[in-house]
């Protein structure tokens, strides 16, 4: 059993220190780690490799073997089938929804954390409860609302509900960050006569950057990959988003599997790019944002 001396307890400061490198190699852990690596990689490998096969003879070859005649024809098919339209639509709804969500949530977080009064407190509880609302439960009434508002088959129909549903979690995460901005900074700005907007602009936004980036990335991934709402609320090809493109390759009774998988690869690439850029943020943001 370990017991700490008083001095050792007191010397613990920032909890973000990393464990020192251990010279012992944890073999079972290593083996487990590589096993899980195989589990993760295998389906991804399968998707990539299969996308390079052609439909003829698809079932003749070993699904995990490198194809004898790899071809990019599936990628061409996908790209030619309005891929850029879907991509643009996905990008538009993602950017607009995320910007709107973050902007609106940051304002709300600031108001909740630094505000007093029943309105702020009730709002916070409302958002808390909102986390447990399953989105599909509201599908039918939302569909009715969207059609009455004549927004059916528009990108707005995808953006607005997405913002609505992303707000609770975003507000909660941002609140926690904003809470940590020292009160003194607020008060000194207030004394200088700063209004709410200036405080937001000069103080809150810069100091909550890590959290903002984290929620932005998290929300972006959710909106980009969402497919139930686009399925129900849009119909024309000009309004379709990327996940719908996967469905486009399913014929009435069977599908062109290699083409679908090529579409999967293509539609994941932007996420992958964002991942490469933003991984540090996601990790560091979550590191700081979630409890120890």
């Amino acid at each position: 059993m370990s017991h700490l001396t008083d001095t050792e307890r007191l010397t613990v400061t920032s909890p973000r220190r990393r464990p020192r490198r251990r010279t012992r190699y944890n073999v079972p852990a290593g083996i487990g780690g590589f096993l899980w690596l195989a589990v993760i990689v295998l389906p991804i490998y399968y998707v990539i490799v299969s996308s390079l096969r052609s439909q003829a003879g698809f079932f003749a070859s070993n699904p995990l073997a490198i194809p004898a005649n790899p071809t990019f024809e599936n990628y061409w098919v996908v790209l030619q089938n309005d891929f850029f339209v879907f991509f643009r639509n996905s990008a538009v709804i993602t950017v607009v929804a995320v910007v709107a969500t973050v902007a609106v949530s940051l304002m709300a977080a600031y108001a909740i954390v630094r505000g007093t009064g029943w309105f702020q407190r009730t709002s916070f509880s409302l958002f808390l409860l909102g986390l447990s609302i399953p989105t599909h439960a509201t599908l039918i009434p939302l569909y009715w609302m969207i059609t009455r508002m004549h927004l059916y088959d528009s990108l707005a129909a995808l953006i607005l509900p997405a913002v609505g549903f992303s707000i609770p979690l975003t507000v909660l995460i941002l609140s926690n960050f904003v809470r940590d901005i020292p009160k003194e900074l607020y008060e000194s700005m207030r004394l200088d006569g700063a209004g709410d907007w200036r405080i937001l602009w000069r103080l809150v936004i810069p100091l909550s950057r890590p959290a903002v980036v984290t929620v932005a990335i998290y929300n972006a991934m959710n909106v980009w990959n969402s497919f139930l709402f686009p399925l129900i609320f849009t119909q024309s090809a000009s309004k379709r988003v990327l996940p719908m493109a996967l469905w486009a390759f399913q014929g009435e009774f069977s599908s062109n599997v290699p083409a679908i998988l090529a579409a999967v690869v293509l539609s994941t690439l932007p996420m992958f790019a964002a991942y490469i850029f933003g991984r540090r943020y996601l990790v560091s943001g979550l590191t700081a944002g979630f409890s120890k």
Binding site: A91, V92, Y143, S238, F253, S255, Y281
Partner: protein, 460 residues
């Protein structure tokens, strides 16, 4: 839920973090902005559906049609393109949908009053529902005013009728379910294609011994199991059994033909009649057809799409004449005519009641001339029989002449053509049937339980 924060509170940490993050955020922001800008600027022009160069983008003015993606897509699009070129004053714009997506969307669209002018459908209970809710208009006059009355095959035309009036015009190939088989396997094992159910049960053990699965089926899709049930009920009890269930006659499912059919199905399953793990096989990608042409299975019940899948997956197999086709076996002592067919008689165009009179007129004009030579040939090219009276020469001229001629004869001489059960029955019954039937195949329930569950759905 609590997300507690600790550790980032100190001013020093946050400020130190700031400069490093500033740069990274800037890079990220620039990257994102560039990506968005590129994609926004770089889109090709008004990329709508492939409805021909001359057609304008979809707008509220012109008539519209929702086209199903898949094998007949090109035929549809070519036909609309020809029409639009010849009739610039009565344009029809198109949108293309995948099968599942279409089925999800058409109802909400109709409900929202935003249905396309030309509505694609399968007939059956759905069409009856559209008629009951006044969502589609009566097209019976087209039979007299255009050539459609003479050209269209009567059995097929019937499926587009509700209460004696025509609400759907056939637009696709006739799709009967037939028995496809691997000739090589039969030759190797020394068997003949079964013509009766008893013969079928007799060859099952021999195929199993030879290490071949008697039947391939994509059991996961559920609807692929329907033909076995539909054919058996029809062969044993005749077409009236299902017809009465579709009409909602109380206790229609208690007809002994139903129970006998289910018993036979379970006997087939128990005898090893279906490939191992059949309930895991999905129709995506044609894995079921692959079992047939790779020799792992001997037979398969399928729509013409199966023929297509085999051709796409292994062209040599068809070219060398290894793919055989036969009608579903007869049942000795059964009331049904062995020439009866089940499947999808065809697909239909209906005209939306919510469209403007001009749109409706454009749609009707289009439909009247739809079955021109070009269209018929395009349909044949998709691998099936168009729903029209055909001359022998047309069929003989095509690539798959033998197949087409055999199919045409089957269709032309079929006394009745039962629509796929999940379409023929009202939605609640149809969906319940899919679930119950799958459970029968998996030996999870008894025929009696099936009958009870299905009787419950009557009138819902």
């Amino acid at each position: 839920m609590y997300f507690e924060v600790c550790g980032v509170g100190t001013k020093e940490n946050t400020l130190a973090l700031r400069s490093k993050i500033d740069r990274r955020v800037a890079v990220l922001a620039v990257a994102v902005a560039t990506a968005v800008a590129l994609t926004s600027c770089g889109t090709p022009g008004p990329v709508q559906s492939p409805d021909g160069e001359g057609a304008p983008a979809a707008n509220t003015g012109s008539a519209s049609a929702w086209v199903m993606s898949g094998t007949a897509e090109e035929a549809f699009n070519a036909s609309f393109a020809r029409w639009n070129d010849a009739h610039p004053d009565e344009l029809i714009s198109t949108e293309t949908f995948a099968n599942d997506a279409y089925k999800q969307k058409i109802r909400p669209a109709i409900g929202a009053g935003e249905a396309p002018t030309l509505i694609y459908g399968w007939g059956g209970a759905t069409l009856a529902d559209y008629v009951a809710t006044d969502s589609v208009i009566d097209l019976s006059d087209l039979l007299d005013t255009t050539a459609l009355g003479e050209d269209l095959l009567p059995a097929v035309l019937q499926s587009g009728e509700v209460d004696g009036k025509l609400y759907g015009i056939p637009n696709n190939i006739v799709k009967p379910v037939v028995l496809y088989y691997n000739k090589d396997v039969f030759n190797d094992v020394g068997l003949d294609v079964p013509e009766s159910w008893n013969e079928l049960m007799a060859i099952v053990p021999k195929l199993v011994d030879a290490g071949v699965a008697p039947f391939s089926v994509a059991g996961q899709a559920q609807w692929t199991l329907l033909p076995y049930f539909a054919y058996l009920v029809d062969r044993i009890g005749g077409p009236d059994v299902i017809a009465s269930a579709a009409e909602g006659t109380p206790d229609a499912w208690s007809d002994p033909a139903v129970t006998e059919a289910l018993v036979k199905i379970q006997e087939l399953v128990d005898a090893g009649g279906f490939v191992n793990g059949f309930a895991s096989i999905s129709t995506d990608g044609g894995a079921d057809a692959a079992l047939l042409y790779s020799g792992k299975a001997a037979m398969m019940l399928g729509l013409p799409a199966t023929y297509d899948n085999v051709k796409t997956g292994m062209p040599e197999f068809v070219e060398e004449g290894n793919l055989g086709w036969a009608p579903f076996p007869a049942v000795d002592g059964g009331k049904g005519d062995p020439a009866n067919l089940t499947g999808n008689p065809t697909n239909f165009w209906s005209v939306s009641a919510d469209a403007t009179p001009e749109q409706q007129q454009a749609a009707k004009d289009y439909l009247g001339q739809m079955m021109d030579d070009g269209y018929v040939e395009d349909l044949i090219a998709t691998g099936g029989i168009p729903p029209v009276n055909m001359s022998e020469d047309k069929l003989a001229a095509s690539d798959d002449a033998d197949y087409f001629q055999a199919m045409y004869e089957m269709i032309d001489s079929a006394p009745s053509f039962q629509l796929s059960l999940d379409q023929a029955l009202p939605p609640v019954a149809g969906q319940e049937l899919l679930i119950q039937l799958q459970q029968i195949f998996l030996n999870q329930i008894t025929p009696a339980e099936f009958v009870d569950a299905m009787n419950e759905t009557i009138g819902k």
